[in-house]
């Protein structure tokens, strides 16, 4: 066994997940902060390639964990970071980001657009900031190919620890983690199935855009890094279904994760149960601390009518990805592009 050594920087340690068996044929890959993988990879690579110099300001639009990972890596690299966020950024995250030295600019609440929310206003402010500084670097997690590329390290770990993997399940946001991990696993196992988990009212796989309670997955705009052709099937679930699964994961396996992990676990445990001879891995992107006052608080759940609400044993199979039937649905995506899926559905609708 090779000699174990310490880490030179915290971010190196933070990117290492725990691989834990949660059912006989199902492993969870549990991250403290999954976004550390693309954040660290993108920034270090940009530095190597000379895109980040000593005076370069790193800029990005984010209200989420990618910003936190950037802020941590910016500390390691001794670089300035400006984040442009929604007005509604989580207060605790805001304090953590600013403590790490990041400047967090919140666009005004009045800037909300009917489609895409604050995204347009955030991009506009980002462009202004880039104009104000001589040298800036934007990681662009939604379109930077280094985002999916960074997940080769995850596929590497999975393969070394588990060997052949038959199915990978995970929540989808930027598309980086699922598309990257699946692509690299398929270099070895081309038949490995990819199951994406999305929120209702997220445009990623054909739902109409709308307000979403479930955080950490789903999008209002289509990210370039989402390669739909990776996915064999897609699941959607409601926030309470995801919350119940999150708590189940905690109670049964002592894995303290956030609700996007819970949503992925919901789909993964069903897939593993119905495919007992296949080895499944579920991506669990972040921990539960941010949700102690919500998902992990029975009173909060009760106030919203979510307490005691259990998801069904299996998803409802739908033949149209824009439908919202019940609390958990699945659609046979079959590795098609978004355009192919749309064409199929329009053709089907016209035949009816």
């Amino acid at each position: 066994m090779p000699l174990r050594t310490g880490f030179v920087e915290a971010t190196e340690a933070y990117q290492i997940p725990k691989l834990v068996r949660v059912a006989p044929n199902l492993y969870g890959i549990a991250f403290t902060l999954m976004k550390m993988i693309p954040a660290r990879f993108i920034l270090r690579r940009a530095e190597q390639d000379g895109k980040i110099g000593p005076d370069t300001v790193i800029v990005e639009t984010t209200s989420g964990t990618f910003g936190l990972a950037l802020a941590m890596q910016a500390v390691s690299m001794g670089r300035r970071l400006i984040l442009v966020s929604d007005p509604v950024i989580d207060e605790r995250l805001y304090r953590r980001l600013t403590d790490l030295g990041a400047v967090v600019e919140r666009v005004p609440a009045s800037a909300a657009a009917a489609v895409g929310g604050y995204q347009a206003a955030r991009l506009e402010r980002l462009a202004q900031i880039r104009g104000e500084h001589r040298s800036t670097f934007c990681p662009e997690q939604y379109s930077n190919p280094d985002n999916p590329r960074s997940y080769a390290a995850v596929a590497e770990l999975l393969v070394e620890c588990l060997g052949q993997i038959d199915c990978i399940v995970g929540p989808v946001g930027s598309g980086g983690s699922m598309c990257g991990t699946t692509t690299y696993l398929r270099a070895l196992f081309p038949e490995c199935r990819a199951v994406g988990v999305d929120a209702y009212n997220s445009v990623l796989f054909g739902q109409p855009d709308g307000p979403r309670e479930l955080r950490g997955m789903g999008m209002s705009l289509m990210p370039a890094n989402l390669d739909h052709r990776i996915f064999d099937e897609v699941h959607w679930c409601t926030a309470p279904a995801a919350y119940a699964a999150t708590r189940d994961l905690h109670r049964r396996n002592a894995l303290f994760m956030g609700p996007s992990s819970g949503a992925a676990y919901l789909a993964a445990r069903w897939w593993a149960r119905t495919n007992p001879d296949k080895l499944t891995v579920v991506m669990l992107p972040d921990e539960g601390y941010r949700y102690l006052d919500t998902v992990y608080d029975d009173e909060w759940l009760a106030q919203r009518g979510h307490l005691g609400e259990q998801p069904p044993d299996e998803p409802l199979q739908v033949d149209d990805p824009s439908r919202q039937d019940g609390s958990w649905t699945t659609y046979d995506w079959a590795r098609r592009s978004y355009i192919q899926m749309m064409t199929t559905n329009v053709a089907a609708a016209m035949n009816v």
Binding site: P145, D146, R149, A152, A153, A155, E156, L157, V159, E160, C161, G163, Q164, T183, Y184, L185, A187, L188, F189
Partner: protein, 329 residues
Amino acid sequence: MSLRNLRDLHPVTGHHANNGTDFRVGVGQAPAHHGELLQGVFDDGTGRPRRALVTLPQRDRGTRAVFHPSRRFYSITVENPELTKVRRAAVLALHRFAAHPATVPGGRIEITSDVPSRIGMGSSTSDVTAAIRAVADFHGVSLPEEEIGRLAVAAEGASDSTMIDDRVVLFAQRDGLVLETLGHRLPPMLVVGCDTEPGAGVDTLRFKPAEYDDKEIGAFQVLRAAMRRAVATGDVALLGRVATASARINQRFLPKPGLERLVELCLRHGGCGVQVAHSGTIAGLIFDARRPGVADGVARCASRIEEMGLVLTATIGLEPAAADVRVTA
């Protein structure tokens, strides 16, 4: 004539045979290989990408070199003047022993080999390694494997890792460095080898090294981990996956005609995957030697390959246990 036969015919090393005279010779041997199980670009541990490979050794073929010392001539001669790399290797090896009390200024290298050239079986490294070992043997020294590796790379620019024969390594073929020891030995397997382009051959000196893209380099990271696991757990199925993936990536640089047909043929007969010579024309269908009925699958694949018009190069049984189930067909 196989290497084993050569050894039987010449069981003595010159060192003990002719003590202390100019007629005392040095003898060295080196095996062939059957291409690679994995070849690509890998992190060397310092963040630097290096070209490296995992060789599939083929020990029933090889080279025997004899070093005939000379106290009069300050040069090395090789019987076949085409073997310039062998000459360079012997010069470097002799230089290595410059301070040795019993050294000589020059000599003659005689090469006997049954390794075909230009198809990716490592004839060049086999010759070079045998020559280095012959010079070392003359001095009564057995050089460490990694030092032979560095001398071989210095002589020929890029070498496979056949000189490292007591473990499975990821070897940087242009640096002569072991990037990682993957394990003790390869799991027991049978390999049905064939030449995918009989008569074509590849000039390894002129062959331009592959320029891998980011995605391919990411894939190599995963293949390396899979290889590590396959060797550690003796998983031939996973090893076959790695070899097939590496062969497929290489199709962009030196395509093997009919690779997918060979993969399909192999899997259909219970095999695990196909490895190739990444700078040659040969391919090998990999079977788990422990699997019941493996001999049948191997025999069927061998006859199918001949029907396809391809030339069988070898059936390699890599472990003593595997040798017992070698196919005679």
